[in-house]
């Protein structure tokens, strides 16, 4: 055994730089594989784990006490499938607050800290030792994503009233601890809560019903049933003030962005692992081929094939074990960055430490693959006679075809020789093409996501947010001004203004879905129909493609929609997509909606501003001029910015990391390949130098020979990316209601990326092949 270790150590010493580059690739691969596995095996469970820990509600409704009746509580409690129900007194209103750098308007629930919750418990993370008189406890998302700190001021604006608090703590709560739904909750100490309740009279008094069900998959159906029961005797304006949500919708809202991030990490780790496997195979095969003389000599002096095979196994599996251990340990340092990123998006802490399972799987996988590949490559030693080996017995090349004969082909000698070099290395070329294609695809993926979420987020916002304008105004039902839309439309800063309402109704008699209502869908800016068309006539409806699929409905079929006691049948004219209603949504014209709600009057105005208009200042003017008719104003630009901001940072970071790793992998692969080529073809370079080729010419020939390979690989990766990214994203986001992802993939960006990969390949190849310079012609020949 000692001899085997000695041989392995000697092999490593002989190829130090190649061992280091091999080591680095395995370190990167193991690091990413471990991160990918940790994320895949643990992160997706984190939401449910926390949900169970905090005994969070599967369905919940919140409404003002002007609507609430005790009968609702009893109804919910006795409903089949509901296992636990809790009624909570809350303060409930529409208000705005600052999140990050943006103002967000949302339905706000203020909880009393003294509530003894059995359902939807709260887990405090940070708390001031001494509570100030104006203390407020905020959900963790406000710290992780909103970057608020203990002791800082936090202001909630309610109409013209400002409530200023001091941040006294942060907590985790599953149901209302997010900015990604229409409802956010804050906690006030009992005295403050009571004081606010008293000063506001009964205006803010509300009730929240929280329930757990025995089958959370049924949550949405049960929630619809409750909602249907509550709205039975309400008018549409009252209905609009009720907030209701269920487990599935919440999970989607809170984890979608993070899930996209994890998908990228997992995909990237898989590609890098694949690349590493190819490199491991290449490195081992070449090592044996270049060592063939030594193998012959060792066999001649009495080493057995078994001993020699074992020495290769020890050499490579030992290196792989060491590198993968190191990569695994490094991943522990990278994990906090990932955890922080995920927490900032979801508002849920991911307490993930060392995960033995992922650690062992990633190391075992890499070492096992290395052993298998080493064995597969090394076993040919068995058949090799010492004398054959000493005569360079394994022919690494058997030249059958003289590509590009110099006397007949056009082009300079350097160009032709580089093409010849390229054409004679098919096996190696295939490997490089596959590797470059794979990492180019990943880079395209990262760039496309970066472009569509950071540079030009329209496509992303279109699918996530549905119809989107610069600002939206909610009209005051008590002081309704039906001419407000025309009046605002006359403002010189306004490009367009439309009514756009989102209301809940029922399909199939008992399932809730969203209906987007507007007068004329042809003037909306986000064309949500990917198949068929938007409704035009009052008997037409466009249905979310995912929902239509579940209902086995297609264009031309009909669907019955009910609101309260009125129902009507509509013809499906189009299939639409948006993640806004979590796949459960549809479109009706105002005339169409009136068939089930004759009292309908538009409540929301979407305002599209001219380019260069300051939305904040514009809304200030609108508030001053028409404030009496408006219940609330939303700066959608700011809202969008704040929602995307955290994600933007993560995506930017991910894109940079992916590009960096792509560059590192290309550099390492080229280093390995060129080093091997230079060693294998030392004599050829020597002969060329002897007959008068300069180092510069040889470097040029070698570097140029990689250019078509890099170009082919990057074009393949780019084309797969161009054609495959939207379908891939669609598959990933189908359950959210996205049936046809339309991320913008700019051909120019792809061309630039492909060119960058080619140029980078050429530069790295030139730098690595410069080692030819150090060796004189005679030493190359006399090798």
């Amino acid at each position: 055994m000692r001899k085997i270790f000695m041989l392995a150590a000697a092999n490593i010493r002989k190829a130090k730089s190649q061992t280091v580059s091999f080591l680095l690739i395995i370190v990167i691969s193991s690091l990413l594989l471990n991160l990918g596995l940790v994320t895949m095996l643990n992160y997706s469970n984190n939401f449910d784990k926390k949900y169970t820990e905090l005994n969070s509600a599967h369905i919940w409704q919140v409404m003002n006490n002007s609507i609430y009746k005790d009968e609702y509580y009893n109804y919910v409690k006795n409903l089949k499938g509901v296992t636990e129900t809790e009624k909570r007194d809350v303060l409930y209103f529409k208000g705005s607050f600052t999140f990050g750098k943006s103002d967000i308007e949302q339905n706000i629930v203020l909880f009393d800290a003294d509530n003894k919750n059995k359902i939807s418990k709260v887990s405090y993370i940070d708390k001031l030792d001494k509570l100030p008189a104006d203390a407020i406890f905020l959900p963790y998302i406000m710290k992780a994503g909103g970057k608020l700190k203990l002791g800082e001021h936090f202001t909630i604006e309610r109409g013209k009233t400002k409530h200023v608090f001091t941040v006294a703590g942060f907590y985790e709560e599953m149901n209302t601890g997010t900015i990604n739904t229409q409802l956010i909750g804050f906690i006030l100490p009992h005295n403050e809560w009571m004081e606010l309740k008293e000063t506001t009279g009964d205006k803010l008094d509300g009730t929240m019903l929280l329930s757990r069900v025995n089958d959370k998959e049924q949550g949405k159906r049960i929630s619809s049933e409750i909602y249907n029961h509550i709205i039975a005797n309400l008018d549409v304006q009252q209905t609009a003030t009720i907030q209701e949500l269920d487990y599935e919708t919440l999970k989607l809202a809170r984890t979608t962005t993070a899930n996209m991030g994890t998908s990228v990490i997992i995909l990237f780790s898989l590609v890098i692992t694949l690349v590493s496997l190819i490199v491991i195979r290449f490195r081992i095969r070449n090592s044996i081929e270049t060592d063939i003389n030594n193998i012959g000599a060792l066999k001649a002096v009495g080493y057995t094939s078994k001993q020699l095979i074992k020495s290769f196994l020890v050499q490579f599996s030992g290196t792989a074990l060491l590198a993968s251990l190191f990569g695994g340990i490094l991943s522990l340092f990278a994990l906090p960055v990932l955890k922080e990123g995920y927490s900032a998006q979801t508002g849920i802490i991911w307490n993930q430490g060392f995960d033995a399972k992922s650690f062992i799987i990633s190391i075992a996988f890499i070492v096992l693959i290395t052993v298998l590949v080493s064995f597969q490559s090394a076993r040919k030693i068995k058949k090799l006679e010492p004398i054959t080996a000493l005569r360079n017995g394994i022919t690494t090349h058997s030249f059958k075809r003289n590509y590009l004969p110099l006397d007949k082909s056009k082009g300079s000698v350097n160009y032709l020789l580089s093409m010849k070099t390229m054409l004679h290395n098919t096996r190696q070329n295939i490997m490089i093409v596959v590797i470059i294609a794979a990492i180019c695809f990943i880079s395209v993926f990262a760039l496309v996501i970066y472009y569509n979420m950071v540079v030009n987020d329209k496509a992303f916002v279109d699918v996530i947010a549905g119809e989107y304008s610069n600002a939206s105004l909610m009209l005051d039902n008590d002081n309704y001004n039906s001419h407000l839309i025309e009046q605002i439309g006359e403002n010189s800063q306004v490009r367009k203004v439309i009514y756009y309402d989102s209301v809940s109704a029922l399909y199939n008699n008992n399932e809730t879905f969203n209906i987007y209502v507007t007068k004329d869908f042809s003037v909306t800016e986000n064309k949500k129909c990917y198949d068929g068309r938007d409704p035009i006539h009052d008997n037409e409806i466009a249905l979310n493609g995912y929902l239509a699929g579940n209902l086995k409905k297609k264009i031309g079929d009909t669907i019955t929609v009910r609101l309260g006691k009125k129902s009507s049948e509509y013809l499906i004219t189009g299939l639409m997509q948006t993640a806004n209603g979590s796949a459960y949504d549809s479109e009706l014209t105002a005339a169409g909606f009136k068939r089930i709600c004759s009292s309908y009057k538009p409540m929301n105005i979407f305002v599209y501003l001219k380019k260069g208009t300051n939305t904040k200042l514009f809304l200030k003017d609108i508030q001053n001029e028409y404030g009496n008719y408006i219940k609330s104003i939303q700066n959608s630009d700011e809202m969008k910015e704040s929602m995307l901001n955290v994600f933007v940072q993560i995506i930017t970071l991910t894109a940079y990391v992916i590009i960096l790793i792509t560059a590192a992998i290309i550099a390492l692969i080229l280093f390995l390949v060129i080093k091997t080529l230079v060693i294998r073809n030392r004599q050829e370079f020597g002969i060329k130098k002897a007959i008068g080729f300069t180092t510069r010419q040889l470097v040029f020939q070698l570097s140029l020979s990689f250019l078509p390979i890099a170009a082919l690989g990057s074009v393949i990766g780019g084309v797969i990316g161009y054609l495959g990214i939207n379908p891939l994203l669609t598959i990933m986001m189908r359950s959210m209601g996205i049936m046809k992802m339309n991320f913008i993939i700019q051909p120019v960006t792809l061309i630039i990326l492909c060119l960058a990969i080619c140029i980078f390949t050429y530069i790295v190849a030139s730098l690595v092949s410069l080692r030819i310079r150090k060796i004189s012609a005679v030493s190359l020949i006399s090798e």
Partner: protein, 254 residues
């Protein structure tokens, strides 16, 4: 006796190799002149420094100390790339192991070398065809890979490559060392013809029959020149010439 211009000269040429801390002085203060049009043969026992001298003279290896002058140009301090340019224009090489590029056909091996100093491909191909005829290499061998040729054919192909740029000087390192007598004679005949046409040849050899082709024999021992024999131009069957060489080599202890 040929009286020609000096094409290549060395002044106090030294070459030392380091091997694990041990210094091995292979060439020691060597002064030598190679004349234009000569067929110079370098002989000596194993380890005398013959090949080292040949590679230093040809600019393939750099001396440790001393100067080398090639056609009036000091080359010992030149960069590797400048030396490569010098070699491609002025030197041809014939090696014992031939060293044709395995991945290319015989014709490609020749054209690749030719294209280094002449961009006119047509002209190079024509020259190559002439040279192939001269060395009696058949047309169907031109498209073969080196591994498909016999030793003699490969060596003749190597000579064509060495001559394609019409070099001033051809360096040959044991060109017949790996060939049987028949192939060896053919190769030597080619080199003799080349020399007859006015090109200089510097050849390292162990073989008496090969050495007979030279008009000047330099004998090297432990890195120094210990003797020189001038024979006239080679004439087949000249017994006196042969005897003179034998006597010289016997004096040198060969």
């Amino acid at each position: 006796m040929l009286m020609s211009n000096v094409i290549l000269s060395t002044t106090k040429l030294c070459k030392t190799f380091s091997n694990g801390g041990t210094q091995q002085h292979v060439l020691k203060n060597l002064d030598l002149e190679i004349f234009d049009g000569d067929f110079t043969v370098i002989m000596g026992s194993s380890g005398a420094g013959k090949s080292t001298l040949l590679y230093a003279l040809s600019g393939m290896d750099k001396p440790t100390l001393g100067k080398i002058n090639f056609a009036g140009q000091e080359i010992s301090g030149m960069s590797n790339d400048k030396l490569a340019v010098l070699r491609r224009k002025n030197c041809g090489f014939v090696f014992q192991q031939v060293y044709l590029l395995d991945s290319m056909s015989v014709m490609d091996n020749v054209v690749a070398a030719g294209l280094l100093s002449n961009k006119n491909k047509k002209q190079i191909v024509q020259s190559a065809e002439k040279l192939f005829s001269m060395v009696e290499l058949k047309r169907n061998d031109w498209v073969k890979f080196p591994s498909q040729l016999s030793g003699g054919e490969a060596q003749r192909a190597g000579i064509v490559r060495a001559l394609i740029n019409n070099p001033k000087i051809v360096f040959a390192d044991e060109p017949t060392g790996a060939l049987n007598s028949m192939y060896g004679k053919a190769v030597l005949d080619v080199l003799t013809n080349v020399n007859m046409n006015g090109q200089s040849i510097v050849m390292v050899t162990h073989d008496l029959n090969s050495a007979r082709r030279g008009n000047r024999i330099i004998y090297l021992k432990d890195g120094v020149i210990c003797g020189e024999c001038k024979l006239g131009k080679y004439v087949s069957g000249d017994r006196d010439r042969h005897e003179k060489l034998r006597t010289f080599l016997a004096e040198m202890g060969w």
